[in-house]
């Protein structure tokens, strides 16, 4: 199934827009860049990011450093894969899993009355956990689902490498 065929078959303008090559490409690169940007600071200073992880009080302290390391590198790896368009749907799925986890963690802070920095985009702080953050995550989750559903390899490294050389 290709995205183009979906778009051609559908008469719904929204589906046509969501399935368009350019729209999926923009979403894919946006998500990838966002995750690489947010992970760069965490990878550079994992200790500080581990502090943000511990502030959620969801994990045993003994696991927080390892979790912070894995989380930061998951963001950066999945982000790079999305930007380059390598295993795009799987990378979008990885980002989806992370975003769902973030949304659940943030929701628990609201329920528990914790007012902490979310540790979302950098170690600098400034974004406090709250409903707005959950809404933002839901928007990003929707973007992931669109990429997973309509990704067609447009402008991707995967397609570039899979192209057969022209015969002489």
């Amino acid at each position: 199934m290709t995205t183009d065929s979906t778009a051609v078959r559908s008469s719904n303008p929204l589906t046509v827009l969501l399935a368009s090559k350019g729209f999926v490409l923009v979403l894919r690169v946006f998500l990838g860049a966002l995750f690489v940007f947010s992970a760069a600071d965490k990878v550079a200073d994992p200790e500080r990011f581990a502090i943000a992880v511990r502030a959620y009080k969801l994990l045993p302290v003994s696991l927080t450093n390892l979790f912070a390391l894995v989380l930061a590198w998951s963001e950066i790896l999945a982000g790079i894969m999305l930007i380059l368009g390598v295993y795009t749907r799987k990378a979008a799925a990885a980002v989806l899993l992370l975003l769902v986890m973030f949304a659940v963690a943030i929701a628990t802070t609201i329920v528990r009355g914790l007012a902490i920095d979310c540790g979302c985009f950098s170690n600098e702080g400034g974004s406090q956990t709250g409903l707005l953050l959950i809404l933002r995550n839901l928007f990003l989750i929707a973007a992931c689902l669109i990429v997973m559903r309509f990704e067609n390899g447009f402008f991707s490294l995967s397609r570039l490498l899979s192209r057969k050389p022209r015969s002489a």
Partner: protein
């Protein structure tokens, strides 16, 4: 679209990222321990011990001093915490007053800025535990690793100061003491404007 296959692939990417993360962390000079050092000694960590009914753990420092036969406030060592006091991890109010008068400690209020502004112990700086990432640079720029730090929060049962002390230990601070009475105990006899303890 095969959702199960994509999600499995997503998990594999996260797993691969974990392998890269551990390898990269091991290779870098400033890598962090996979298990935080302070978490390995929970049983001996004064910050994780439950509070006694009075809010203090271990022997109160003023009682210890009496038992040692030392005279608080006379010798210069009385204005600096002793190694035993640092090892005990807690300080009582009377002793904290002496230490503050000596000026050899850094007093950190671990509560939120609004609570700090409403009233705090004179001389304290505000590093709220719940916003520590935001205050990280201020902390590391103003408090050297070898400083003797006393942390407090609102009351004997609050957990912001023990949590902050634990984080400071992760960051490499060694000389950490809790004033477990907190602002509630201190403010009973403090000047409400300055936070200075009034002498009775």
């Amino acid at each position: 679209m095969n959702v199960i296959r994509d999600l499995t692939g997503g998990f594999l990417i996260i797993f691969a990222a974990g392998v890269v993360a551990i390898a990269q962390n091991a290779a870098r000079d400033d890598g962090i321990p996979l298990i935080p050092k302070a978490a390995e000694k929970v049983s001996g960590n004064p910050y994780t011990q439950p509070s006694s009914p009075t809010g203090n753990t271990g022997t109160p420092l003023d009682e210890r001093q009496a038992a040692d036969g030392s005279i608080p406030g006379v010798a210069s060592s009385a204005t600096l915490p002793t190694p035993e006091e640092i090892a005990s991890g807690v300080v009582a109010k009377a002793r904290l007053e002496e230490l503050l008068a000596g000026g050899g400690i850094v007093l950190i209020d671990a509560r939120l800025p609004g609570e700090f502004e409403a009233g705090h112990i004179e001389g304290a700086i505000n590093i709220p535990y719940e916003k520590l990432p935001e205050y990280y640079e201020r902390l590391t720029a103003t408090v050297p690793l070898d400083a003797t730090i006393v942390c407090y929060c609102q009351s004997p049962t609050c957990d912001d100061s023990p949590n902050l002390a634990r984080e400071l230990e992760f960051l490499g601070y060694k000389n950490l003491i809790l004033y477990k009475g907190g602002w509630d105990e201190w403010s009973q006899t403090a000047d409400p404007r300055t936070g200075s303890a009034s002498r009775e």
